[in-house]
Symmetry: C2
Subunit: 220 residues, 2 copies
DNA sequence: GTCTATATTAAGATAGAC
DNA sequence: GTCTATCTTAATATAGAC
């Protein structure tokens, strides 16, 4: 993947021109702030100091540019998450590490958040990409949680399928909350969820008279 | 609010024409599927059988139409949430009730999800609306949780500020997960979080040898 | 209340010079 | 590798007839 960047190699196997990378960086900002639909190629071209035709030399279509933006940053979080989740001593720390990372990169978070929401539409050029990505992230989370169960870090009766989906959803939702309110403590709030997965600390149950649950529509 | 729909009253105090409502309904679908930026007024006009100028009679600008779409549906979930959370016997059931509702209205969920993500940009016409809305939802959740604490439904030591933010974020994230994968059990996954808030059931701790937590970047 | 016609601006994309 | 110039289509919006 990310091999054969067509038509832009300088040397025999130069993978990416300087310009190409500059354009991708700027496009990431624009797509993040205004969305894919809300951003024009002219706008990006202007930002890079190129003419629109000059931009189109590097990325013949708008979709090509979006794909390049997605690919350029997909390696980082994906690999980071994979390695962190799978090989960290504490697999749960791998998840929080991803969030710590995100908290220092607003542009990236905003791009993935906004474009993935747009990509909810089946006709969006990145629809397939984000649907698949969602599955992958959930699977990575489940793997980390299973490992945590084995290591005795979380309750043995934890439903890892549910917990993994919760982690993915919470991570996403916290990012949006944080984008609207940068004072949001994404890391702490996520950690709070993980704490709920932990083996119960020997705390005396303060009042166990009525532990019923809202027993309604759980079946939807 | 929602009084004085300017220029479209038939009778002396008719609040909304039939056409107006039809347009709003269709715009909700379009904005949901393609986003605000990705949808044109011509498109919506075509969908209603009007010409573009005909549409502009009812909504002079695109922003006016977005505002109307937002207002038209804001009453429903807001009031529903407020009443459900505040006056239900079990305040937690009020939250799940909202999700049950959402699970049967994809168009609505998609519109709020996609447009709010777009509105992350400060220049987006609905930016202020969604930033405020986020705060309101969190506050409603906190109110419900506080009530639940009083009723002994959840742990006394629960951090309601954290929990409320978690609820809002999870609800949002689950909606996106569900939009990409309609088999997602939003209700069950949300309920699972609430279960974690409950007073601990008297379950014997299976293995309490090592209950340390990932003690890293919680301070970000 | 809805139309046709039009103004203006901008979109994505191509051709071909340099 | 980048430009100017241009094509084609479509965007928001207005004017004014019916």
């Amino acid at each position: 993947m990310a091999a054969a960047r067509n038509g832009t190699r300088r040397g025999p196997y130069a993978k990416s021109s300087h310009q190409r990378d500059r354009i991708i960086e700027l496009a990431l900002d624009y797509f993040g702030q205004q969305g894919y639909h809300g951003t024009s190629m002219r706008e990006i071209a202007r930002g890079t100091g190129l003419s629109q035709a000059g931009l189109l030399y590097h990325f013949p279509t708008k979709t090509d540019l979006l794909t390049a933006v997605l690919e350029s940053r997909d390696t980082l979080p994906e690999v980071a998450a994979r390695s962190a989740v799978e090989r960290a001593q504490d697999p749960l720390a791998g998840m929080t590490a991803v969030i710590v990372d995100n908290a220092s990169n607003r542009q990236l978070v905003q791009m993935f958040t906004v474009v993935s929401a747009e990509a909810t539409d089946e006709r969006h050029p990145a629809h397939g990409y984000f649907r698949q990505r969602s599955q992958i992230v959930i699977a990575l989370m489940r793997a980390g949680l299973e490992q945590a169960v084995e290591q005795g870090l979380v309750r043995r009766d934890l439903n890892v399928d549910y917990a993994a989906r919760q982690c993915q959803a919470l991570m996403y939702g916290l990012q949006v909350q944080w984008l609207f309110d940068p004072s949001t403590d994404m890391v702490g709030l996520f950690q709070h969820l993980l704490d709920g997965f932990a083996v119960p600390t020997p705390r005396p149950p303060p009042d166990a008279k009525d532990s019923r649950r809202a027993a309604d529509a759980s079946g939807q």
